[in-house]
Amino acid sequence: MKREQIGLSLGLRLLAILLALLFTVMVLLLSGAPPLEAFRQIVLGAFGSYKRFTDVLVSWVPLLLVSSGLLITFTAGLWNIGIEGQITLGAIATTWALRLLQDSTFPPALSLLLATLAGMLGGAIWALLAGALKTFGGVNEIFGGLGLNFVATALTLWLIFGPWKRPGIGSMSGTEPFPQALWLPVLPGLRLSLWALVPGLLAWGMVFLLLSNTYFGLRLKAVGKNLRAAYLLGVPTWQHMMLAFLLCGALGGLAGSFQVTAVYHRLIPAISSGYGYLGLLVAMLVNFQTLWVAPVAFFFAALNLGSIQLPIVLKLDSSLSGVIQGVLVLFVLLLDGVRRRMERG
């Protein structure tokens, strides 16, 4: 890339962030809130104490896993909207495994390991379904994924209100919490589990290596850039797409698994916490650069946690974080389009 191009690209990115900030300030002013104080509260809410910082990491882990996984499918030219369902299926499979194992004589560590693997398997299978619909059924992965998301939600609700209901209770609140032995151990006094953080980081690193340093990654790129050309050059295209789905689904499933074992300790209807859709935003924002997944996902997680201060302190709705995230992505995409136009012209 030429020097001017880098400069242009950087300038436009900065402009995008500036525009997003300006837009947010306008929204805040329109709702009669002090913008500086609002931003200050968000920053304090995310980094005001050690515990808050580690809380950001707690939601960073699933977001990191999901976004990393999505980069694999993005590289293969696939829009894996079904990631939400893959997270959910991971959570369901983990819950299922823990329910089976909690009364067994298995040591808790082994039960947790098996349940985590079950979660990855659950997510992978759900992703393969979307992949099979695409490859063999000709169903666009966006529609297939959306459909499977609905099925995953319906399945969760049915399990919670039906076979997995709490004794004597009929509530969409969630299943009976697992005994504490089956929670992933956390750092003392905190909510952060290294047993989730380390796998999250490892997964991110592996995706980076896979996409940048392997033959497989190269071929995946070929499939993503030009399916037909890749096929003509002898790349087994559908196999690569299925593999991309499988890996992404497994990572999504792992995220869902951690939601059960490290955060909620039971299955709830909103178990995915929307990390799938948020992960799509992250993946779009980083534009195929795996290294950037970690900081951007961290930034999003911090925004989400920090914005909880808004209703407490300023009586503002905390959906502001969603506004910032959405607007940021929109402006970055918009100015990316502008850049491409300028480069062509």
């Binding site: 880098i6 690209s9 950087l10 990115r13 900065l14 962030i17 900030l21 809130a33 002090p34 500086l36 104080e37 931003f39 200050r40 509260q41 968000i42 920053v43 809410g45 005001g48 104490s49 515990k51 808050r52 809380d55 939600t153 609700l157 049915w158 209100f161 039906g162 076979p163 209901k165 004597g168 209770i169 009929g170 509530s171 969409m172 609140s173 006094g189 909510r191 955060v263 909620y264 709830i268 209807p269 909103a270 916490s273 929307g274 980083v286 650069q289 290294l291 950037w292 900081p295 951007v296 930034f299 989400n304 946690l305 909880i308 209703p311 407490i312 302190v313 300023l314 009586k315 905390s318």
Partner: protein, 432 residues
């Protein structure tokens, strides 16, 4: 390219840091009740010595006692959560204490967070006592109370610290508070029975548990009593159907839609809907049907002002008045006389609508006929005089005996009602 993006990110971080650094100097007009917000976050709980029962006495002239409240729904839901919010305001006014609150505390509205985590956020803003206002936060309130023995906890509607209860756990820093809404629901049932023209009463239920079963059953007992005793009709001619939506309020795509459930009642001839959920869909749908020319009424729930939304169809509202009990508990916390206990507070029978003494009340609605209103008053005075409808013979829905002839239900039998009662239609436990 990668390098450039790093610069971008550094810029974002830098900008947020600059913003945060600038802010304190800016003379921002502090929006109401923000005092502790600008102070550094209060010490995290573990650093304070645990002193659950002997909280130091605080001079009321100094910094006011700060209490926090977690509301499961919106603070202005005209129902369950608003009743708690107003009670918090009441305590602020009576005690000179200060409330901070966070509403919509449930995983659907605040994804990725847990109630105990959010409670810690209120503690960080200075709260020394946390009110968990929903059954949905019961497990989380236990977890929080045990992890923070130096923070006082009120768990509304829970039974964790009821020594005679089924779920007893020793938690010195926790108080359970609940109103004896059984009375409010009996009165509601009575008003419904006196009004229905079709003899069919619908009960819009939330989720199924001990609490909701006993409240639905209370409404039925009140309805049956007034139907047979005051109207002289046969109990078998009174239909009483319960439909559950699956949660305390509507969560689109997750629960059944209460709007639709209410419409189903109306369209199948149920002309009075008693609401058991946190929000007012029963009332609004009844109003729509009323405006379309149908003779339909509704009885909302929880909040004293609930009828205001549709007075023309509102027969009255049984409501919680959390204020007096919250005042007692928060005062005890502030003054160091806190005692872990289970409070199940009844109405003040001298005046069930006394805002300073009655934990539950009933306000008659504009749509209640004069004649029915007279009989409702009579029913209330009978209850005040000692009338107890939780007396045998009573059978459970499946026909098994619940109370023998003349047997009076204990508090435990009522609290943990295992099924709906015979004569009620609807699920006692979830079936799918």
């Amino acid at each position: 390219m990668r390098k450039s993006l790093f610069t971008v990110f550094a810029f974002v971080l830098g900008l947020s840091l600059i913003l945060s650094a600038c802010a304190p100097k800016t003379p921002t007009p502090a929006p109401a009740t923000q005092a502790p917000a600008t102070q550094p976050p209060a010490t995290e709980a573990p650093t304070q010595p645990p002193a659950p029962t002997v909280a130091p006495t605080e001079a009321p002239t100094q910094a006011p006692f700060v209490f926090g409240m977690l509301l499961v729904g919106p603070y202005n839901d005209r129902g369950w959560s608003q009743a708690h919010y107003e009670a918090g305001k009441y305590v602020e006014q009576k005690l000179g204490a200060k409330m901070i609150y966070l509403d919509k505390v449930n995983p659907a509205d605040r994804p990725g967070t847990t109630a105990s985590q959010l409670a810690e956020e209120l503690v960080a803003q200075g709260a020394r006592l946390i009110i968990f206002n929903s059954d949905d936060m019961k497990d989380e309130s236990t977890k929080f109370a045990q992890e923070h023995p130096d923070v006082f906890v009120i768990m509304a509607s829970g039974d964790q610290v009821w020594k005679e209860g089924k779920a007893y756990t020793e938690i010195p820093n926790m108080i359970n508070i609940m109103g004896r809404m059984e009375y409010g629901k009996m009165i509601a049932g009575c008003a419904a029975a006196l009004t229905t023209q079709t003899g069919k009463i619908g009960y819009l239920g939330p989720l199924i548990n001990d609490e909701t079963r006993r409240l639905a059953a209370s409404a039925y007992l009140g309805a049956r009593y007034c139907w047979t005793k005051y109207l002289g009709k046969d109990a078998r001619d009174l239909a009483f159907k319960v439909s559950w939506i699956g949660f305390w309020f509507n969560i689109p795509g997750v629960t059944d839609d209460p709007t639709k459930v209410a419409d189903d009642f109306i369209n199948s001839g149920y002309d009075v809907i008693i609401s058991g959920i946190d929000t007012t869909e029963a009332l609004t749908q009844a109003k729509k049907a009323h405006d379309a020319g149908k003779a339909v009424w509704a009885i909302p729930y929880d909040f004293i002002g609930a009828c205001e939304e549709a007075p023309d169809v509102c027969l009255g509202v049984p409501y919680f008045n959390w204020g007096p009990e919250y005042l007692k508990a928060i005062k005890a916390a502030a003054e160091g006389t806190w005692q872990s206990q289970f409070v199940w507070a009844g109405p003040d029978w001298k005046d069930i609508n006394n805002p300073d003494t009655s934990a539950v009340g009933f306000v008659k609605g504009k749509a209640l006929s004069e004649n029915a209103a007279r009989m409702v008053d009579q029913f209330i005075s009978e209850l005040a005089g000692g009338l107890n409808l939780w007396v045998g013979p009573l059978k459970l829905q499946d026909g098994t005996e619940y109370l023998k002839e003349g047997e009076v239900a204990t508090d435990q039998q009522i609290w943990y009602l295992p099924q709906l009662l015979e004569g009620m239609e609807g699920q006692s436990v979830p079936q799918q």
